[in-house]
């Protein structure tokens, strides 16, 4: 921003601005545009909630989500609560709560142990990995090659009520006696496994596809899902993502009936509030950027002179010689230059001719004349090696020539 200068006496000052009111009048349209744009941005920011595209998330309304199921459960009076960290689950009454864990294969060993200690009902969705065996279901997970809608084929009341279900994507193959498999298709892969140890029920729905918005209305999926997940008045829903190391928390876990705090559930070496403090410092860094970015006046232009090295043309010629392997031309130039220097030293001009120079050089250096003649006027060298030899001999000759 450079102001037009006005002279006050001898001093130069910036021109007085047109004043706030005049500026506002002149920039009315601009201000209106800025306000409008700001309002629009604010509306967008407030109105647009971040889309949830996590599969099996209850906030996800795409075909892979489970928002439809969550809404059905809520309509039937089940309090469905999705948590983003396992520690936030804070189950108040394990006897009246279903804990739903999607993608349990991503849980850490500590987290699986906390599930094992948990006294209430558990439902595992999708791939569960090591958690299956830990929770007493003796089955292995295998990919389903032939998706099929099959009848329950077991004694489980929920499965019987549902009637049929589709085995798809992932199925369970029996590996022992632990747990009852339902909806088993021809190749022996089951959609659901359940184990009841008397105090609680652990259900694994490997073919979690059947709970998604896309498949919930097919076969007996809706019945199966609402009966399995809607057994208690509360449902805590957690989609594992492998980034959260915290443990499942519930009332009575610590033995004193209190809910453990998040800090106790997440062993952390940093004091509480570190993250927020860093967040505040990051905001300060934005201000620092503005502080440093504002220049103390504009850069001053520097008209630069042309820069060409005087030896540029000669270097170009040297490259041409090299590319053409011009041994003859290079040798001729160096011979002529050496002859000129030696002639000057012993007082023989260029116009005196070849014989006069050869004789004088031979006398000054004490070498035989044919030798000198060959070095100065001999045939051009055939290759690089011959050129190097000739030049070193020429240098030797030149160093031997002294003023007579």
């Amino acid at each position: 921003m450079t102001a037009t200068a006005t002279a006050t006496g001898e001093l130069v000052t910036t021109a007085r601005g047109p004043g706030l009111r005049a500026r506002a009048r002149r920039g009315r349209l601009g201000i209106a545009a800025v306000v409008l744009l700001g309002g629009l941005v604010a509306m967008l920011v407030i109105g647009a909630r971040p889309g949830d595209y996590v599969p099996l998330s209850t906030e996800n309304s795409t075909p892979t989500g489970t928002r439809a199921l969550a809404q059905i459960l809520r309509a039937h009076g089940v309090e469905v609560r999705q948590v983003d960290r396992l520690a936030r689950s804070a189950v108040r009454d394990p006897d009246a709560t279903t804990v739903v864990i999607a993608n349990a294969s991503l849980l850490t060993g500590g987290q699986v142990r906390s599930l094992l200690d948990y006294p209430g009902d558990l439902v595992l969705l999708g791939e569960s990995g090591d958690a299956l065996a830990a929770l007493g279901i003796d089955a292995t997970e295998e990919p389903v090659l032939l998706p099929e809608t099959v009848p329950a084929g077991c004694d489980d009341p929920d499965a019987l009520a549902a009637g049929t279900a589709r085995v798809d994507v992932l199925g369970l193959a029996a590996a022992g006696d632990g747990g009852e498999l339902c909806f088993t298709q021809r190749s022996g892969l089951a959609a659901l496994a359940r184990v009841d140890d008397g105090t609680r029920t652990v259900t694994a729905i490997a073919s979690a596809e059947l709970l998604t918005n896309a498949r919930l209305d097919a076969a007996g999926h809706a019945a199966l899902a609402t009966r399995t997940l809607g057994r208690h008045a509360d449902a805590v829903w957690y989609v594992a993502d492998g980034l959260d190391p915290s443990l499942l928390t519930w009332a009575g876990a610590g033995g004193d009936g209190d809910l453990p705090t998040e800090v106790e559930a997440t062993p952390d070496f940093l004091p509480p509030g570190t993250g927020t403090a860093l967040y505040a410092l990051a905001l300060a860094v934005l201000l620092a950027a503005f502080w440093r970015a504002r220049r103390f006046g504009a850069l001053v232009r520097e008209p630069l002179p042309v820069e060409v090295r005087a030896s540029e043309a000669t270097r170009g010629r040297a490259r041409l010689y090299r590319r053409a392997r011009a041994t003859g031309r290079s040798a001729a130039s160096l011979r002529a230059a050496a002859a000129l220097r030696m002639g000057r030293r012993i007082g023989v001009g260029r116009s005196d001719g070849r014989d006069a120079l050869v004789t004088a050089v031979a006398r000054a250096s004490g070498r035989p004349e044919p030798d000198v003649d060959r070095l100065l006027y001999g045939p051009p060298p055939a290759d690089d090696a011959a050129l190097l030899t000739l030049i070193s001999e020429l240098d030797a000759l030149e160093s031997e020539v002294h003023r007579p």
Binding site: E302, V306, A310, T314
Partner: protein, 429 residues
Amino acid sequence: MHVTGWTVALAALGALPAALTQSRTVAWAWVLGVVALALVDTWLAPPTHAVGVRREAPGSVRLSQSATTRLLVANVGRRRVRGAVRDAWQPSAGASGERHAFALAPGETETFRTALTPTRRGDRHAGPVTIRTYGPLRLAGRQRSLEAPARLRVLPEFASRRHLPSRLVRLREIDGRTAVRLKGAGAEFDSLRDYVIGDDVRTIDWRGTARRGEVVVRTYRPERDRRVVIALDSARLSAARVGDAPRLDASIEAALLLAALAAHAGDRVQATAFDRAEQARAASTGSRIVASLADALATVEPSLLEPDWPALVRLVESRVSQRSLVVLLTTVDTSAMDSGLIEAVAALQRRHQVLVGSVEDPELGEMMAGREDADSVYGAGAAARAMLEREAVATRLRQLGAEVVLALPDDLAPAVCDRYLALKAAGRL
């Protein structure tokens, strides 16, 4: 508007309440509060038009020396002003310590000095003066720039002036004005005096001896009041860099030294720099020529044009009517064959004595000595070819009767002066 480091420090302090409450809302509220405070501070800051400035540039300075430019800052408003000014100059002006903080009561003034150590010859221009004023909280303030034009003329370095004393001694020897009595040389008859033992017997004036009855000798002195015309070629070839300066700079050094020497010798010097048209001109009598020549040549920049030699010949002929020494400071290389240099020298040599000075490139010498491998020998061959071509042109010029001086950049000025002294001693001016 600008903010200070205090604003950032204050914003960083927000980490404490944010950590204690563990709330990002608090962090945002703190930072937005700091921003609001900075905006209020800016609004409260004195307007920039309450500050007046005046630049006082030192005029001219020799390259490699330092100058001080002064910036007067005055508070012309009704409130106390706390702020800072930046006295911006273009980078090659070599300004250091160009930022100054001030706190002025109404009507008060303060003068700041900025040291300038220019790195290039020519006119160095000042940039805008930027004024910052701070608000009462020192968190932020207003900023405006204003044009306050100033110029610093950077004269040629004239590093070759260290050669001047030794050349003046030589000049006095030729003149016969040395403290030890040495025979004066020159071509112009000065006076007759009695023979003393040691005088050259060839200088005995027999007619005077016969008339007086005692042996008398003639004394000579070098010619005085000769015309010296220095022409600097500022065309395409003078732009090429030799070492770390363009050829033109070596020519300027030579011109300055020669002008200083010739002025001491009592000759009349005029100089011109030209490419297709005259770029600079200096002519004055006595020792003032050096100052006026330095000032005139300070702003000459090499142009990327082919020199117009016939125009130079016409220019010289129109400036001098008597026989003069015409010193052409140019580049002797193979392009001289068809650029018209040889014809121009021939035309000038008919009525004047021409001295051609040319800068040699030390890199060519290094290339010519290259013997490490085949590649460097090809380089040596190319350099030898360039040298031979240059020698051919120089020989052609010598055949026309011109004097030719080929020297490395640092040696050109003394070499041209030596040749001038030799010509003077031989009475060829």
